[in-house]
Amino acid sequence: MQKYSFFKLLQHSLSHHKNWQAAWRNPAPAREYDIVIVGGGGHGLAAAYYLAKKHGVKRIAVIEKGWLGGGNTGRNTTVIRSNYLRDDSARLYEHSLQLWEGLSQELNYNVMFSQRGLLNLAHSHHEMSTLLQRHYAMIENGIESEILNMQQLKKWLPNANLTSSARYPITGAIVQRRGGTARHDAVAWGYARGADALGVDIIQQCEVQDLIVTNNAIKGVETTKGTIKADKVLLCAAGHSGHLTKMAGLELPMVSVPLQAMVSEPMKPCMNTIINDSTVHAYISQSDKGELVIGASNDPYLSYSQRGSWQVNEETLQAILELYPVFSRVKMMRHWAGIVDITPDRSPLMGLTDVKGLYLDGGWGTGGFKATPGAGDLMADTVANDKAHPLVKPFGLDRFTSGRLVDEGAASGVH
């Protein structure tokens, strides 16, 4: 793998950057692999990377029907945090957050993970209690969290409306300083480059048409580029997990709905943190390029088109202007939607399935991006050992029959 560094950049500039190699190959699929991963988004590529790196698996293919990173990896609001209430979630996302913290170096690809701090805002005594419950739960789980009073908030949110004139005056907040954002595309690209260097075949423009199952064991996949054999198949196809598992006769407890997001025009720095407000439903940060990146609530209805309904944008910006009236003349430059798989308890579906050798990593709803390294690492472990990793176990399908849901509900905000 060609090393990336300032000096390399300097060196290559002399040859007008004409000697950079491709970050990954575009191989034709082999007939057979040890493990086939369906879905070339962040999760799939990360799983491939860790399977090769930590578990020494040699023959791995990642199959992507479009172009890698083209699904929700490239369509989300890039927020990374582990400020969850329930122990199971907190541990899962904290594991992921810790991987994020070394990721640029691990991959030798700058994913621009920027820990500018994530704030959750409260507007009443009751909401503050709810945040405090999360705050203290995080601390019990060894995750740092701080309570912010109004004086501190003035420093954190210089342009926000902190007066009592607001419909929902802000009364306090908690902050996870280690929370932040990353360059979403770079995560997919970095893992792709890393995995490719470890011998993983990344096969783009290749759609899975069927899962081959005999005697309730997975044997491979039928694709637009032919049959590919494998005794282990991992599904990481957010937005499509549902109809993929149907190919193996498995139904999943989830629905696929549009989740919309938008960016403003690029502006000089005016927001140096990330805000999540589950009362007015606002989710906002400013990218390194200067665009305000804003997340909306998901549309309610089932959809496989990457299109949502207009009024969601209205509601979203009404909420933003409640917190930031000064942004009224700022312009929205683009809005778009991704498809997210929402589960009954808004927690992911991970682990083994009833089909031997078929593994699932899905149902991430609105929270998949932040989990990318963690889910990749834990699913790699789970697939390699054919046994759910302890951090994965609570998120198995069995929880819906046992009643052991991991319900984050409103506590974690909808994103």
């Binding site: 640029s104 419909r167 690029p266 207009w310 700022v330 009643g403």
Partner: protein
């Protein structure tokens, strides 16, 4: 900067008499009515408008329209500061002040321009390759990156303007008022159909405003005028200028932004008139006549001020009466731009040469050129532009068959380069609507695929890939005819006038002009400083799909949405892959077509109107009593009623004491209320609630908990039996609507054969509670015809009668543990009742109490609060409320789930009380109870409610603790912000254990 006056003495759609004063970078200038900021600056000889996004290169004006990706500025001050607007779209007004963006200290002397020196170090995606070492320095690197990124400054003052929505419905919406659009409108108008014609410009006419061809022997302007006069006759036709169709969504739902006041001097913008109006339109039929955009060529230093699109130059000369330069060179690969060159020459701009990529341009054109004494250099290219802040000359060379530069070369002095690389249909809306695009090999452009018309729409004229004036008129008329029939209207046969222009656009492909010197910048996307070498690099590094290219190089990701860069980038990518544009794929355009202000999208639902403040009919009464309000969902409820000098804690403790020792009065009106009638009412109650209802007699009340089907508590409240098959149900304030729609869903979807009628009456009835030892006495004194003796009216009973001469429903129920009555009267009588009670209670020590007090009082009694003791994961058993579950009942919502393994396992968190060893210390709500075993620690529960109790004279808390019910008397430890707190586990009941007070 030259201060030459480039304004022509005559011609153009401007009013030279009407001068307008404006400023740019704090220098005063004058323009005239009809000017855009761009044309006015050009008239004043201002070349340098701003600096580029990444490399801070000097940038000027490259077009005359929405395609501008160079001349971006910010306008207005303070509360009207608007950033990142293209000078070509700003209609100037008296007092307009505008400034360059992205440069410091000035656009002329920009420190950031030093970056240019390192441009070789900054190819696309350079940041992915560096700033990684040492890891902890990233935030320092990033700080610098953030500072240098962004374009204009963000506003810092609240907007002085307001915004409106306008919902509307039309039979036919026509987008664009060029020849095709106007023709369509004229064809459709007589039908009587409701028609909307939107034009983003402040003048109707589109391309005709700068055109010179004849229509029906008239000049284009005469024809436009005639069309407008005709259309204004029709009441069924709405003409909207300054309105951009920004979004095309499912079911012909369209959003259009009307700029209402931005063109007016600030002192004449009237209050109450919105700055922008967002139209939200349902259209039966849509005709897209959005025209096309001229494509730049990709050659060395093609971003220098003075390099512009031929169509732009033509617009400035013909429409604005401004000379874009003194001495021009035309660089083209097709016919269409010749006309521009000739017209420039006619209007006094010397055209030094026409450089045509083609070996043999059509004879007719060669003839025209020589007629106007314009030297034609064919089979040649402009491969480099000289000059920094303004073009000074171009380097021209011959082009070989292999697309390399030949030895024959010359330098031509000039201050203006006009260029044309062909035309790109404006297909954004078609694409937003879900239409597919096909690649036109001949015209080198993407145009709508007639085989994939996604909705009830038609594309006509240039935006359909048919560029000639004649085609535009014909397609406009035919489409209108078609649309009318589809929409169920009569339409006379389509007819259209003849035009003397039917030029075609068959460019010779030359996607990258070769350069002599390696590293010479050839820009593809001026907005984001993306040059051809960046596209090549992306491809080299494997970012081969068009989406990867966009994301890796940021091509087309700027506010201009890549209107001029899209095709060139695709083509270069295709060339690099020895492939074709269709093969590398195209991206779907995302709305909005042009950026939309947040204000316009939010409309009037901001500030005061962001969300309703639901108030009970006692709101003003509370205000007069000095209440401090607390938001509870959409409601505003009194939190406490401070006396002079009291803080919250003092007031709340006083209120609690008043209730325990005298009598308190509380407004519970926001509690949800459902009136339930019909033979199957009882059946309904038995399904909704976990407990049984068969034995509830008229006049009696009962408490119940509701579970969701997952077995967890969802709401609770008291229901009274008003009479046979008639019940009055109460819910929590927060769940009133949820419970009602939940009940409706069950009744309509599952139990549709049940004979039961549910009516929400939450705000029909005000609910005033009086609680305390003196409550009965108070009710006596205020006057009631109800017998209040314990025998006649026991706890958990309900009576009807009058209170203070107001007919009322009185419920003897209590949430405080005190002897208490909840008096319901029709909302409009509540203030009368409240005042009467306050008056009558004066000598009984009556005091109003708020939310915080009632929470403390109910906690002393161990009553749960939904949302504190419950969070959607708690069963009645967890709360020690098995008495509230009818185990003998055959079925009720949530019953099945209660027997799931997880809900029946031991070790679940159960409700207990906590008393801290340090009585004065109040544990924060949400605090976790730590379990330490074998060096491991984890949470074994959390505090759900916690208060200082006036009654106990110490703190108290309720908590959910693993196996709590078996651990009474145990000590537990909490670690709170560095402090270790120990507390004793108790029953969650701190006051009047046997309930004697309630039943007295």
């Amino acid at each position: 900067m030259s201060h030459a006056n480039n304004r022509l003495t005559q011609g153009g759609l401007i009013d030279r008499q009407q001068t307008i004063n404006f400023s740019f970078n704090d220098k005063p200038y004058t323009g005239v009515a009809g000017d855009t900021l761009a044309s006015a600056l050009m008239a004043n000889g201002v070349d340098l408008i701003g600096r580029s996004f990444k490399l801070h290169r000097p940038r000027g004006i490259m077009s005359a329209g929405v395609e501008e990706c160079s001349a971006y500025v910010q306008v207005g001050n303070g509360a009207r500061h608007t950033t990142n607007v293209s000078a070509t779209q700003i209609e100037i007004y008296e007092g307009l002040n505008s400034r360059s963006i992205h440069c410091w200290p000035s656009v002329e002397h920009d420190v950031g321009a030093m970056v240019g020196a390192f441009s070789r170090l900054l190819p696309s995606g350079f940041y992915y390759k560096t700033f990684m070492w040492p890891a902890k320095f990233w935030n320092i690197y990033e700080h610098a990156i953030r500072g240098s990124a962004g374009l204009g400054k963000a506003p810092e003052v609240e907007d002085a303007d307001t915004y409106e929505y306008r919902y509307d419905h039309f039979d036919l919406v026509i987008v664009g008022s060029g020849p095709a659009g106007l023709m369509a409108a004229r064809q459709a108008a007589p039908s009587g159909a409701r028609i909307l014609l939107v034009e983003q410009d402040f003048k109707f006419g589109g391309s005709l405003l700068a055109d010179t061809a004849k229509i029906d022997g008239q000049t284009p302007l005469q024809w436009v005028e005639q069309s407008l006069t005709e259309l204004q006759q029709f009441a069924n036709v709405t003409l909207l200028p300054r309105t951009t169709l920004t979004g095309y969504y499912d079911g012909n739902f369209l959003t259009a932004l009307e700029r209402v006041t931005d063109h007016l001097a600030e002192n004449v913008r009237r209050r109450g008139i919105a700055r922008e109006r967002l139209w939200k339109i349902r259209a039966k039929q849509v005709i897209l006549a959005t025209g096309s955009i001229e494509r730049p060529l990709v050659f060395g230093n093609n971003d220098r001020p003075g390099v512009m699109l031929a169509s732009g130059a033509r617009s400035y000369i013909n429409r604005f009466g401004v000379k874009p330069g003194q001495k021009a060179v035309l660089f083209t690969n097709n016919d269409t731009a010749y006309q521009s060159a000739i017209e420039l020459q006619q209007k006094g701009v010397t055209v030094a040469a026409i450089v045509d990529v083609r070996q043999a341009p059509p004879k007719a054109l060669r003839q025209q050129a020589s007629n106007h004494n314009i030297p034609l250099i064919s089979g040649s290219v402009v491969h480099n532009v000289l000059g920094k802040k303004r073009v000074t000359a171009v380097e021209v060379a011959g082009l070989s068959a292999q697309n390399t530069l030949t030895s024959e070369q010359q330098q031509i002095q000039c201050d203006l380069v006009i260029q044309s690389g062909g035309w790109t249909p404006t297909v954004h809306l078609f694409s937003q609507a879900g239409g597919k695009l096909l690649y036109d090999e001949a015209q080198l452009c993407l145009r709508p695929d007639p085989a994939s018309i996604p909705q009830e729409l038609q594309s006509v004229g240039a935006c359909n890939g048919h560029f000639s004036l004649t085609d535009a008129l014909r397609e406009g008329a035919e489409a209108a005819h078609q649309a009318l029939l589809e929409a169920g209207f009569q339409s006379t046969q389509a007819n259209w006038p003849e035009a003397d222009e039917s030029s075609s656009c068959i460019p010779q492909a030359l996607w990258r002009v070769p350069v002599r010197k390696q590293g010479t910048k050839r820009f593809v996307d001026l907005h984001n400083d993306v040059s051809s070498s960046d596209v090549e690099l992306a491809n080299r590094e494997g970012y081969r799909s068009v989406e990867h290219l966009k994301r890796y190089t940021a091509t087309g990701m700027g506010p201009d949405q890549g209107r001029t860069s899209n095709i060139n980038a695709l083509a270069i990518l295709a060339e690099e892959q020895n492939s074709t544009i269709p093969a590398v794929g195209t991206t779907r355009f995302r709305p909005p077509y042009t950026p939309l202000s947040f204000g316009a999208v939010a409309g009037r639902q901001v500030g005061e109107f962001f969300q309703v403040r639901r108030k009970t009919s006692l709101y003003e009464t509370h205000q007069q009593a000095g209440a401090v309000f607390e938001p509870a969902g959409l409601w505003l409820r009194p939190d406490y009623y401070p006396l002079a000098g009291e803080n919250r804690e003092q007031a709340v403790l006083r209120e609690c004491r008043a209730v325990r020792q005298g009598v308190g009065i509380f407004d519970g009106s926001s509690l949800g209320k459902l009136d339930i009638q019909g033979p199957d009412s009882l059946k309904l109650l038995n399904m909704l609630y976990a407990n049984g209802w068969n034995t509830l007699k008229p006049g009696a009340c009962r408490y119940g908990v509701m579970l969701k089907e997952d077995g967890f508590i969802f709401d609770d409240g008291v229901t009274a039996c008003l009479g046979e098959n008639h019940y009055h149900m109460t819910t929590t304030t927060g769940n009133a609507e949820t419970v009602y729609s939940w009940v409706e869903e069950w009744l309509q979807c599952e139990w549709s054969d049940w004979d039961v009628y549910v009516t929400p009456v939450t705000t029909q009835w005000a609910a005033v509670s009086i609680a305390g030892p003196n409550a009965r006495e108070l009710l006596q004194q205020v006057g009631t015809d109800i017998d209040l003796s314990t025998e006649a009216f026991a706890h958990m009973q309900f009576r009807e009668g009058t209170v203070a001469e107001i007919p009322a429903r009185v419920f003897r129920i209590s949430f405080t543990g005190e002897h208490s009555y909840e008096i319901n009267v029709p909302s409009s009588y509540a203030p009368a009742l409240w005042n009467a009670l306050i008056k009558a209670g004066a000598n009984l020590g009556i005091q109003p109490f708020g939310l915080e007090a009632i929470h403390r009082l109910r906690a002393e009694k161990g009553y749960i609060a939904v949302g504190l003791e419950t969070d959607g994961t708690v069963t009645p058993f967890d709360l020690g409320m098995s008495w509230a579950v009818g185990k003998k009942k055959a079925d009720f919502l949530g019953k099945r789930a209660l027997s799931l393994p997880e809900l029946t396992r031991s070790g679940r968190r159960q409700l207990v009380g906590l008393l801290t060893d340090e009585p004065a210390y109040v544990i924060p709500e949400g605090a976790q109870i730590r379990l330490e075993s074998a060096g491991q620690t984890r949470s074994q529960g959390h505090v759900s409610s916690s208060y200082m109790s006036a009654t106990l004279g110490r703190s108290m808390a309720m908590a959910l603790l693993e196996n709590g019910l078996e651990r009474l008397g145990e000590k537990v430890t909490l670690h709170i912000d560095g402090k270790t707190v120990t507390a004793q586990v108790t029953k969650p009941l701190f006051y009047d254990e046997d309930g004697g007070l309630l039943n007295a």
